[in-house]
Symmetry: C2
Subunit: 296 residues, 2 copies
Amino acid sequence: MDYKLIDGKATAAQIKQELAAEVEKIKAEGGKIPHLAAILVGHDGGSETYVANKVRTCEEIGFKSSLIRFEADVTEEELLRKVDELNNNPDVDGFIVQLPLPKHISEQKIIEAIDYRKDVDGFHPINVGRMSIGLPCFVSATPAGIIELIRRYGIETQGKHCVVLGRSNIVGKPMASLLMQKAYPGDCTVTVCHSRSTNLAEMCRQADIIIVALGVPEFLKGDMVKEGAVVIDVGTTRVPDATRKSGFRLSGDVKFDEVAPKCSYISPVPGGVGPMTIISLMRNTLLAGKKAIYAE
Amino acid sequence: MDYKLIDGKATAAQIKQELAAEVEKIKAEGGKIPHLAAILVGHDGGSETYVANKVRTCEEIGFKSSLIRFEADVTEEELLRKVDELNNNPDVDGFIVQLPLPKHISEQKIIEAIDYRKDVDGFHPINVGRMSIGLPCFVSATPAGIIELIRRYGIETQGKHCVVLGRSNIVGKPMASLLMQKAYPGDCTVTVCHSRSTNLAEMCRQADIIIVALGVPEFLKGDMVKEGAVVIDVGTTRVPDATRKSGFRLSGDVKFDEVAPKCSYISPVPGGVGPMTIISLMRNTLLAGKKAIYAE
């Protein structure tokens, strides 16, 4: 089959331009520039990179951004005070607390302390619950990015069988929830498989759409996919690679060489879902700035 | 196959005794008797019956109950004021607003106005979201009742393929959410089928557990079920029946005579899931009274 590559990098670049154009329009009309704040605790390498990318993308789009740093020994109380301050700061439209947090701080407690109307990460239970019910809400970045890829590539979903591999709170569960809604993209028969599933390969072979979010490099093999399937790879595992200067490369959850020839559409790693994640956070920030989801 | 009947009536009666024993213990220790309040708007026959049953069951268990009535022309503001009053009444541990509400009132607005810590119906987005995330919460009555039946009958779920027919916010979606959690009952591969599904019968034939919540009388036929399946019937449609004094009988979503012989376990209608629903609300009321899910 002649597969079509789902180019997340190009799509994200396109959306970035659209967002920048919206900011220009807001500016021209004298409106308030959307403002994203990010709290970063400690100096974890991954978290530093993610937050730096978010701040840089804000700048490129024209959003206002604030980076608030704490050392790794910050107390939960101090962090909660900062969350409360951002909740009450009318200039901050949305904010995130970069995860993971140090062990002595309850991530759940911090997440639930965030005003759900500023929860652009979409992790607050109110946003999770509203998504499940089918109400307007902030959808977390990775699922929102995947939905946007499906929409922009015009992939049919109604009545299709979508198999989601993985049941994490940030990818598997929300993907399942979104794709079963009465909506486009949506209206799928949805199956969620995970580490305990005994019929995973069997389910994959029946799937029209497979979303792989297990974090197991090259897990999905050619013989697990039917002809014409749409495959979306959410995996991003660093595997050692002596031929790279960095010493590693990013591996997806899909054995691309085997799977791609059977697909109608497939997203690569890197350059597929990854670039859509930050851009979805940016889109949520714009929605927060416009009070498009929750009125004041 | 020699199927085993899942007797919801007997199980509910058993749980009712357990709850009554807990109330006795609370009384003996001088604790606060759990108090459920119910708001009933208008005089819809079904709603009157449901609320009357809830109040009666409270009395039988030994809970305190309050019935608050409004005429069908009550304004949304009046209703919201009452919700606020109940939120702030320390004697009321949990309360429900019987649905449906008259068209001029936004059900969602009322539901979201309820303090989630008193939301024993489990309809508030915070409770829905926490359930999805896997955090302690009030689970709505029908899914909670089904989970309890599975638990009390010791039905294996880990690694099993559970097919949920229906994607309603009060049954299908929460059932899917609960059965995919890392828990018992749970750890299932879960498939959600609905009106738009094109592979529904095919999915059912592969299922170890089928939960039918479509509201279509006798929808699930014998040839849609594999040998040894567990079938749980959530349907309760009133169908005309001239041989009954009432003029109708309750029909489930399962063609029982055809399906039952193939099952390992099957729940009948009536006497299956139905009796578990009120009892699950009662269990939530006890949990609310004990502040077992949310501390003050």
